[in-house]
Each structure stands twice: as structure tokens, then as C-alpha cells.
Symmetry: C2
Subunit: 227 residues, 2 copies
């Protein structure tokens, strides 16, 4: 049994990280997709990703990709699953530690240095076929987000610091892909004791201003299932 340089004495698969970056824009749930600049699948749409570097955890890699491709940091990032079917990458045995991220639309800034890959936001329901097994990663990620928004407070990561109850409900409706009853939503959410009313009201609209609320904790916390 080896003590050092384990990677020279054993077979080591390649390890990449791919990340499904979700945001909400124009009332639709969207995912950030890039066009591959190189073979394999050159030109095809794919999830942003990259190889793990020495001295980097997979989460570090995910954060690096998030900064490079979406120009964003400090957002919600969670490990999803490790995909390692033997035929998933034509270059050989390369596994992908998949992550997903939730980002408010106004925090996404597509840098010029990423321009060759032309990152763009695509509505979930209009996703094209993606390179590798990224199709599976994307649907697994969607399912995870839909599950977790129902028993955690992660909705905070798709909203500005203060928001109206209507905005909050809209996040749920967009992620879950279904309409919810306004009165029941408010009743249920308020009794969870997750958000607190501020003293401000929305302004600028041409309708009645809404009371603004804030999440008390903007860290992930688990609850009983609530939707």
C-alpha cells in the first residue's frame, strides 16, 4: 500500500465539475448554458464546468466556474450527485461531480472572457439537447430544487434582500411550475416564522404598494415539508 503520490500508482479517473445555474427572469425559470468552444461536442450547448485543479475541492471548482462563467459569487451552491457512467465522455473515464446554484438574475454578469463560450440563459422548458450527460444532470438538478424549495428556506437565494409576498409566491410558482392560492400561501408561509415584515413598502409601480419582508436567516435551514 502506497503512502504518497497515490495518483501515480493507481488508475485515477479524470474528475470534472459541472454546474446547473438557475435563475428567474421574466417570470420563467432559466438555466445558464454555454456553447462548447472545444471538442468533444464542439459548438454544442452544455452546462458550464471544468476539471478539478490540484489543491482545489470540487466545491472550489464549482465556485471558480460560477465566477468565470456567470460573474457571480456568494450565492447558494450545493453538491448534487456524482455522474460517472463509463461512456459519458468520449475522451475516456471522466467523472463529473455535479453542483447546482441559485442566483438572483441581477447578480449574473457574463464576463467578456467567457464570450467565446457565449453563455446564455435558457428557459427550462425550452432546453435544447445538451452535450455529454448534461441532460440528466439538468433534470436531476431541477428535481432537487423543486424538492428542496418545499422543505427548506432556499427561496431566499432567488430573491433580493427585501421582497413582497407576491414576489415570494411568484418564486414558488415559477420553480414548481404551478399556481398557488394567494391566501393559503400567505397563511402558511407567515406561520413558518421564516420572514419578518420590514417598515418599507414597494414603490414605483402603478398599483397599491406592497409591504416588504426579509428572511430572518439567509443560510440554508431545513424545516418540515411545507408545500
Amino acid at each position: 500500500m502506497p503512502e504518497k503520490n497515490i495518483q501515480k500508482e493507481y488508475f485515477n479517473p479524470g474528475v470534472t465539475v459541472d454546474i446547473a445555474i438557475f435563475t428567474i427572469e421574466d417570470g420563467a425559470l432559466k438555466m445558464l448554458v454555454v456553447n462548447r468552444a472545444h471538442e468533444p461536442f464542439k459548438g454544442a450547448p452544455a452546462l458550464p464546468g471544468g476539471f478539478i485543479h490540484e489543491g482545489e475541492t470540487s466545491r472550489d471548482t464549482a465556485l471558480r466556474v460560477l465566477a468565470d462563467k456567470a460573474g457571480v459569487s456568494g450565492v447558494y451552491v450545493e453538491q448534487l450527485f456524482t455522474f460517472d457512467a463509463l461512456d459519458r465522455d468520449p475522451r475516456g473515464q471522466i467523472m463529473s461531480v455535479a453542483y447546482f446554484a441559485l442566483v438572483p438574475r441581477d447578480q449574473i454578469h457574463i464576463h467578456t472572457e467567457a464570450a467565446t463560450e457565449n453563455p446564455s440563459l435558457i428557459t427550462i422548458s425550452a432546453l435544447p439537447k445538451l452535450a455529454f450527460d448534461h441532460q440528466s444532470i439538468a433534470s436531476y438538478a431541477l428535481k432537487r430544487v423543486q424538492d428542496k424549495i418545499q422543505y427548506t428556506n432556499i427561496a431566499y437565494s432567488l430573491l433580493p434582500k427585501s421582497f413582497s409576498l407576491s414576489q415570494l409566491q411568484s418564486v414558488y410558482e415559477t420553480v414548481l411550475g404551478k399556481k398557488l392560492d394567494k391566501r393559503n400561501f400567505r397563511k402558511k408561509f407567515l406561520q413558518l416564522d421564516l420572514i419578518r415584515a420590514t417598515k418599507k413598502k414597494s414603490s414605483g409601480g402603478r398599483q397599491r404598494p406592497a409591504l416588504l419582508y426579509k428572511f430572518m436567516k439567509t443560510m440554508p435551514s431545513e424545516l418540515r415539508r411545507f408545500f
Copy 2:
């Protein structure tokens, strides 16, 4: 960008698989623990595991370890999480794709070839400190099992093909670590339409025989939360 032999052109971390193997024995939830035959952590208790081989998925590795160390196949196995803290292995940057398995006690056969590692079943509540970050893996696995038994049918994987409702309830109580009400348990479980009564009754005890039931599906299936 490379086309072939990606693992020679990039840094690749080492990749191992570790597996938390659960079973129920004497009314207690137990986990299979080995004593490490080699450095690092020689002699220390650890989860069974091993490096991924060429041409093997992480699941293949998990199944191989399960066969080698527990002498078992065809049981419930699920990927848990990928642990890759940079300091988790003193040999260098080596990640672990963690799995867990659920096995009926009578299917576990500790082979002589595994004898040097002296595999043994340890009650969850009496687990010693484990090598590497296996402590974290073990508690994460326990939490996952406790969660999933509440909204899936995985209990089938800890029971013989036919079983009494009392045995079934005992599995839930053992995994969750708490007593459940007999009448409420039966009412709730039967209306889930997951199990069907057979025409047989238990025998051999010195008490009233129990009707035996079978799971209709012995494949994982997800349900609404039910406990």
C-alpha cells in the same frame, strides 16, 4: 484541449469509494466496520472501501467492496455524497464517493479473505471514532436512511420477502430510534398500498401467529412523506 488520455494531461485526484453498510441485528441498527490492514490509520476502524479501478463506475466499486467485505450482492445501494476535503486523506488529494447499503442480517457473510480486516457489525450508538472522515460519512448516511425510510419503500431492503406487520414496525422503530404507535402505524402503512397480505401466517413462536405480508414492489419508489 485534449482528445485522449485526459488523465495524463491534467491533474487527477485519487478517487475511492467508501460504503456505509447498514443492517438490523438483535433489534439494533448496526454498521459494518473494518479494521484497516495498512497505513494510513493502520489498525483503526473504518468504513469498508477501495480505489476505483479502470473501467469501473463508483457504483461498481461499491458493489465489489460489498461482495468482498460483506459477501453480499443484489441489495439496496445508493450513492450518498462525494467527500473531498483536501485534508481528508494524509496521502494526498483523494476524494471519496460515498455510498450506503441496506442489507438483511442473514445475507451478510463475512468471507475468510476479508479476515485480515476483521469486519464486524457495530451498533450505531456505539460507533468508535473512525479513520479519515468516515465519521462524517457515517452520520450523513444515517441521516439519509432515516429520511428516506419516511418517504420511500426502502424498508423492503431490510426485511425478508415475507414479514409480519410487527416486524415491519420494528424496522421503522429501529432505524428512526423511537417507538411508534401500533394502531396508527398499521392504519397508515396499509392505506399506502405498498404491501399485500399473503395467505401464510408466522409459525414457531410461542404466541399467536401473525399474518405475513409482502412488498408489492421491491424496487425503490418514492411517495409522499408518511412518517
